[in-house]
């Protein structure tokens, strides 16, 4: 399991997450499934949680999901997963992440410290929902 993302797309993710700081930012990862999974586009989404919770919670609504599906269809791509940030916190999934996780999707978590996006790690929910399994995360030039 490897998730590959090109440098320009990762830069867009970082810019969105930095602009959301100190709140959590999030959006959809679009691309083509395979081995590796290739992310070629993102869809930035506003965090729908209430302001008091946005520092450590994000929410993408069913309406966001429908818009993302439509956008993916128009581009001939698939929604491969979701990116989000953990501001000033480790980029490992929380129990809350797991409770809400869907199978199959790739979830990337970028640590954003003091407004600067740092390292990103990618995870998928285990089949029994008991844990996240880390997947390879590779940046490509294209």
């Amino acid at each position: 399991m490897t998730l590959e993302i090109n440098a320009a797309t990762l830069k867009l993710i970082h810019a969105h997450l930095e602009s959301a700081y100190p709140e959590e930012g999030a959006g959809f990862l679009l691309g083509t499934d395979g081995d590796p999974r290739r992310v070629t586009a993102i869809l930035k989404v506003d965090n729908a949680r209430e302001a008091s919770a946005r520092h450590n919670r994000y929410l993408l609504t069913p309406q966001d999901m429908r818009r993302a599906e439509d956008a993916a269809d128009e581009m001939g791509l698939t929604i491969l997963g979701v990116f989000h940030s953990h501001p000033d916190a480790p980029n490992v999934p929380s129990g809350f992440d797991r409770a809400w996780a869907l199978p199959w999707y790739s979830y990337t978590i970028t640590r954003v410290d003091a407004g600067q996006a740092g390292s990103t790690r990618a995870w998928r929910l285990a089949e029994d929902r008991e844990a996240f399994e880390e997947e390879g995360f590779v940046m490509s030039d294209q």
Binding site: E24, P62, M65, H86, Y105
Partner: protein, 106 residues
């Protein structure tokens, strides 16, 4: 019979089917039929207490069942049901402990 559209991340559990034909006169019956047809789907739709997981949103012909009658909402032969997930998550609640930057989860 009603048709139920499955979102991409759950299609591995329906043998790749995007749309499943279900039996039942209510949403609850349709879901019971869906999970009887595709048992591995159940753990992703329902929690251990048998309640729908929080990310599961169900629509009947574009109407969210929360604004209808929930899982007791009646459905007809020609209705199109759709599961549309909402996505949520977020970091731990962290407390800075001591002077060396050790973090402890609350």
């Amino acid at each position: 019979m009603p048709q139920l559209k499955i979102p991409t991340p759950l299609r591995p559990y329906t043998g790749g089917q995007a749309v499943v034909t279900v039996r039942g006169g209510t949403i609850a019956e349709a879901l019971a039929d869906l999970t009887a047809q595709h048992p591995n789907l159940k753990q992703h739709l329902f929690n251990e207490a048998g309640e729908l997981r929080p990310f599961v949103n169900l629509f009947v012909n574009e109407e969210d069942i929360r604004y209808l009658n929930g899982v007791a909402t009646p459905i007809g032969e020609a209705d199109l049901l759709r599961i549309i997930p909402s996505i949520a998550g977020g970091g731990h609640s962290w407390v800075l402990m001591g002077t060396h930057g050790n973090f402890l989860s609350r």
